[in-house]
């Protein structure tokens, strides 16, 4: 059987930057073991598979699932952005709805970009451990908070850029991952994201981390529209909007590969 496969770099305008995802359009679901084998063979952080639902409404709808090389996951921002980029490149609709393990996710056109609608997860002081965070990151943050992730705030972007975390200690922290952030020089804020606990020492660009970054920086900077950079080696750009209970995370995508797989 021949199936189309696309590889797209998400949250960037440049190929080789952003976060790569494979996107595989299907007419109907294949066995889970085949989906897992394809994701393993691709060996990218995420492979997204989608199947059309009813196309009668003005908003096209799809079932969407994400697989790492090792397992299916509940949610993935950058692979969702990449999938929407591919679908909306061929469809004039204003938005697309994805039915996922995490409910319905909408991606809408937002000027030249595509916008993800995600829940806000503001950080709080409870459960934050400055001593452990400093030991894991190898530098003392100005402030440590906590959401799903450990949230370490530094005074300047250079301090975040220069971090060389001790991954064993990062993995031992109480949290899914660690967000390191600071005010940006040419943007509102910068960040990096480390998640060695789930096999990702550093993620190039992380939509879900911005569920926490946006409410924090919106309050601190007293603005609801923010432009952010994730300053990993590959780098990413995110246009952010704070909307109370929800956040909008918008970005662009750069296509890399289009081809057919034989399975």
């Amino acid at each position: 059987m021949r199936i189309p496969l696309y590889q797209i770099d998400a949250f960037t305008t440049r190929t080789f930057a952003g976060n790569p995802a494979a996107v595989v359009p299907l007419e109907r679901w294949l066995p889970d073991a085949v989906l897992q084998s394809i994701a393993e063979e691709n060996n990218l952080a995420q492979t997204a598979f989608y199947v059309p639902r009813s196309q009668r409404d003005a908003e096209p709808a799809y079932d969407l699932r994400w697989f790492t090389p090792a397992a299916e996951v509940d949610i993935c921002g950058h692979a969702t952005l990449a999938t929407a980029h591919f679908i909306l490149a061929k469809n004039a609709a204003a938005s697309v709805a994805f039915h996922t393990r995490s409910g319905v996710l909408r991606v809408a056109r937002d000027g030249p970009r595509l916008a993800l609608d995600f829940p806000a997860r503001p950080p709080a002081p409870e459960g934050a451990d400055m001593t452990a965070a400093e030991a894991a990151l190898g530098a003392r943050p100005a402030k440590v908070l906590k959401s799903r992730d450990v949230f370490a705030v530094f005074d300047d972007a250079g301090a975040v850029k220069d971090l060389r975390p001790d991954m064993a200690k990062v993995a031992a922290l109480d949290g899914f991952g660690v967000i390191a952030t600071a005010p940006g020089d040419d943007c509102d804020f910068v960040s990096r994201f480390f998640a060695p606990k789930v096999g990702v020492p550093e993620d190039p660009v992380t939509g879900s981390a911005h569920c926490t970054l946006i409410p924090y920086w919106a309050e601190r900077l007293s603005k609801n529209e923010l432009f952010a950079r994730q300053i990993s080696k590959r780098g990413g750009e995110l246009w952010c909007r704070h909307r109370g209970e929800r956040v909008t995370i918008a970005g662009t995508c750069a296509p890399y590969l289009e081809g057919w797989i034989e399975i």
Partner: protein, 259 residues
């Protein structure tokens, strides 16, 4: 610029088995930084590039982080792609590599045969192999790699090495091997020192496996399996100073990249 990219699984006839490699045919060499960026973007163990040179070809291999001097499975993959996907007609393919070696790949029926140097193992102390592999071998030898011999195929299949201890052994990587149930010998290959906990199929390990088993079994033609999770099949020939390692490939992806 659009470049063709083909991903195949080497040393197997089944997609999702063997060892994956990407192959990009080029008309001329592109800047090293671009070759490296493509290999990083592919994120496979190796991406191979080739450029015609007279009747022969120049061949280079990149991991996601660096260019390397020699790699078996991407060479098999490249030859397979040239003869099958790209329809290049040759009785043999001659590849010139960056370090000056010439690699020759010859079609043999539905397989492709590669000519490699023999690196027979000899007794050498390399540390506590039993602790590293979690099982006591009957014999420990070494060439470039440590070489741990077990009595039965299932001993090798059941190994659960302690990767930190394997990385501490005094060798580049370690080969675990035993007589096979439906083949002459089986093996697995662990190289945590090179960030490869287990390699699915390893051509270069057979430079050591073939002279050892050729001598022990008194045979020059052998059929071997690498019994990793993905699995590989290798047809082997012992020729003294050289060995022949032959295999098949299964196609996976055929497409174009935009760079």
């Amino acid at each position: 610029m659009r470049i063709r990219l083909i991903q195949v699984d080497a040393f197997t006839d089944k997609t999702f088995g063997g060892n994956s490699a990407a192959v990009c045919p080029l008309e001329r060499w592109l800047p090293n930084a671009l070759l490296q960026s493509i290999a990083a973007e592919n994120n496979l163990s190796e991406t191979a590039y080739f450029v015609p040179k007279g009747d022969d070809y120049e061949l280079r291999w990149f991991t996601p982080v660096a260019e390397i001097d020699l790699a078996g499975h991407p060479t098999l993959a490249t030859a397979w792609v040239m003869l099958n996907t790209l329809g290049i007609k040759r009785d043999k393919l001659v590849f010139h590599t960056k370090i000056g070696d010439t690699l020759i790949v010859t079609p043999e029926g539905d397989r492709l045969a590669m000519d490699f140097p023999a690196r027979p193992p000899a007794p050498r102390a390399i540390g506590d192999v039993a602790a590293a592999l979690g099982a006591k071998p009957t014999d420990v030898l070494a060439a470039r790699d440590g070489f741990a011999v077990f009595a039965r195929e299932e001993d090798v299949r059941n190994l659960r090495p302690d990767m930190a201890k394997v990385a501490a052994l005094d060798c580049m990587a370690i080969i675990a091997t035993a007589p096979g149930e439906d083949c002459d010998f089986v093996s697995r290959f662990f190289a945590p020192k090179h960030n490869i906990p287990e390699d699915p199929v390893t051509g270069s390990a057979h430079s050591t496996l073939i002279p050892y088993w050729g001598k022990r079994l008194g045979k020059s033609e052998m059929f071997a399996r690498q019994v990793s999770a993905r699995g590989g099949a290798l047809w082997c020939r012992n020729r003294g100073e050289r060995v022949t390692i032959a295999g098949q490939c299964a196609p996976y992806l055929d497409g174009w990249i935009e760079v």
